[in-house]
Point group: C2
Chain length 414, copies 2
């Protein structure tokens, strides 16, 4: 029978093998005492199995509160645990409860982070994965040979529908590929959802009619199921190509339901992610996280950006981009969404380190606050990526392009 | 205009007031640079507001990686931030993205935990809250004047349907009030969902027909939306009264959709919770967490237990119980589910510290592994709560009741 294997980074005052056995017991047939019905046969079939324990390190102070080590020794180890797929079948929610459930509560661990998941081929066959993926999004937005250039409507919240539509018009005419609502906005008092879609799509459709290029706009539909379904239909009706979901806020079941519709590309915003990963010994690593969401069927997933405004290191961002671009079964690969404090200056380094143009490269303030206006901001982004792909530095490119030069002046010192 | 206020515990190398302003900016109209459209009028209406900053403490080492303090000084403070409800209206997903979104990523914080949320009355009027709550669950299970005594089918996974039904029969006849699937089980290879419901409910309905008491069984429906809806109907069809959802795995939108049906009490399992709260300066505190799930409409919510097998302190467990029992608007209050390493011995201390019988008190191994069998395990639980409510110690009660005496022998040393 096929098995699912999870890799955890653990910290424990116990012998690591013993701690691994506690986890395997708690997360399969066991509980805190031996149970009459837990026969050898049942264990053989359903018990989780410790596949490997690789000791990494030893520290004197626990990362998290838990059992106290008498000799102040906390072991760090990488462990692999496996479960038969018979335990849950194709149920992602129960898979998550098994891989990320009560184990975080076990006092035997003073640190526990899910690092990776290996899922058998039967999962690949059962789930469709992204309906559009990188290639589909490129087609919808009519972009090839370079990253998609995107922006976020800023101010994040508060603009009227007319103001929003006007910004969309400016951006569209300046050559933007992708625009999204900020995640703080779905429908505010002065920006009801359907009216916003109608007015924004009027602008986008008019431009597409003239030029053949339809800008992809990710309308934030995050909300309750029925409302999301209804708003999804509103987008389809007005000729939109994309919906955005705050995946951590909406959750797995809601996101899956929307992805299953298959008519719109799904832009997955990972806001709240910091809570799940920021501690090095608690939560879940992006490599594992993105696999779950790819099974769910999202087409685009946020990965932060090089030299971002957040806490995350460039190494970690690069690794996240690579995860998204790694083939999974025969599924389409998903588009990494590079965002956070981006203004174009990071394009050469992003390209140098990832060697890919399969990115949705997003600048919010970096476009909207451009000294010559948002249109120049869009141009500066294109210029920055031209430079990156041609092996030029930003300084060299700034010598050629006045818009990019202004960006360097304004954002270069940040 | 009414406002929503969130209380955070923060740690920052900056002056706390300044850090609070960064958070308020990031989570409303601002971004990393000033934006042309962010007018004074717009800010007045939509910007988040720093309501208070109360400095608590100072530490020399940061709890999480972020901006480095030059003089090794990290301030801890409690801050209150408020938003106009105009920003999101009655959209819980966007509320969460605002209160728990990208703020955890901000490098300006080396610690950030959402401690509490104050929601205006309009929220109370918009959401129904729990359809059953404590009183409704008591009626469905026909229990008054004491806590509901519950158990979890153990082994957690692997039993056949016949084995499960036989255990249910034993427990029912022994006077159990509540039984639940383990969260690791929804439908496994040898326990398909509908067959399990049918066979379990046959036992429960037969007993109810004879005695008038229908044991509440929480079938784990966690999964995708359509499947959950279909399984919900299966439970209703077979006369069940409760469905269980792993709320962190299923997520907000999916859970809300199920709660909205209103025909079954919803048992909310919080597995995965450790990941969200175990670090003292990251994530969310239970007080805030339970408010969101009460708005969603769950009827029962896990709170861990006194002297549990997990990492959590008794103080924290007591506080969680009190949170669930605190009135919210005119909504029904929710039933705290006491669980984890419970066997009855903790009943007197649980009662002494909480002074309530409005609990669903659950023992898994504590019942199933009882030396005289599961039926005696159920009796021992009743005996323990009898003792607790009558001011007796477990030792005194063990002198009266042989079943409880056996529990003390077996579990008392753990």
């Amino acid at each position: 029978m096929e098995r699912i294997t999870a890799t955890y980074l653990i910290e424990t005052p116990l012998v690591p093998e013993e701690a691994a056995q506690v986890l395997a017991g708690e997360q399969s047939s066991g509980t805190f005492v031996a149970i009459p019905g837990e026969t050898e046969e049942l264990k053989q079939r359903f018990a989780a199995r410790v596949e490997s324990v690789e000791v990494k390190d030893m520290v004197g102070n626990p990362s998290l509160q838990g059992l106290t080590s008498k000799n102040s020794t906390y072991h760090r180890a990488e462990i692999k645990i496996s479960w038969s797929i018979e335990n849950f079948g194709n149920n992602l929610a129960v898979l998550i409860s098994t891989l990320q459930g009560n184990l975080y509560e076990l006092r035997q661990f003073t640190g526990l982070k899910l690092m990776d998941i290996e899922l058998p081929l039967s999962y690949g066959n059962h789930y469709r994965g992204p309906a559009f993926g990188i290639e589909g999004c490129r087609k919808l937005a009519a972009v090839s040979g370079r990253p998609l250039i995107g922006t976020i409507i800023k101010p994040s919240i508060g603009l009227t529908i007319t103001e929003t539509a006007n910004i969309v018009k400016t951006l569209t005419e300046a050559g933007i590929d992708f625009i999204k609502d900020d995640e703080l906005l779905s429908a505010s008092a002065n920006s009801p959802f359907e009216e916003r879609v109608r007015e924004v799509m009027k602008v986008i459709n008019a431009w597409a009619g003239r030029t053949g290029k339809k800008v992809m706009y990710a309308f934030n539909i995050s909300g309750e199921i029925d409302e999301m379904m209804q708003r999804y239909e509103v987008i389809v009706k007005h000729g939109g190509t994309c919906a955005m979901i705050s995946i951590n806020s909406v959750g797995l079941a809601g996101t899956k339901k929307i992805c299953d519709q298959g008519q719109l590309a799904i832009h997955a915003h990972r806001n709240g992610w910091g809570m799940l990963t920021r501690h090095p010994l608690l939560g879940i690593a992006f490599k594992a996280y993105q696999k779950i969401w790819r099974l769910t069927g999202v087409d685009q997933l946020h990965v932060n950006g090089i030299q971002n405004k957040f806490w995350e290191s460039d190494d970690s961002v690069v690794e996240s981009i690579q995860s998204c671009l790694t083939k999974m079964y025969t599924h389409k690969t998903i588009l990494p969404v590079v965002s956070s404090g981006q203004w174009g200056g990071q394009a050469p380094e992003t390209y140098r380190r990832t060697q890919t143009i399969d990115l949705l490269y997003m600048a919010g303030g970096g476009i909207m606050a451009h000294p010559m206006g948002a249109a120049a901001g869009v141009m500066a982004l294109h210029q920055a990526w031209n430079a990156a792909m041609n092996g030029m530095s930003i300084e060299e490119a700034a010598g050629l392009y006045p818009e990019l030069a202004k960006s360097v002046e304004k954002f270069g010192g940040k």
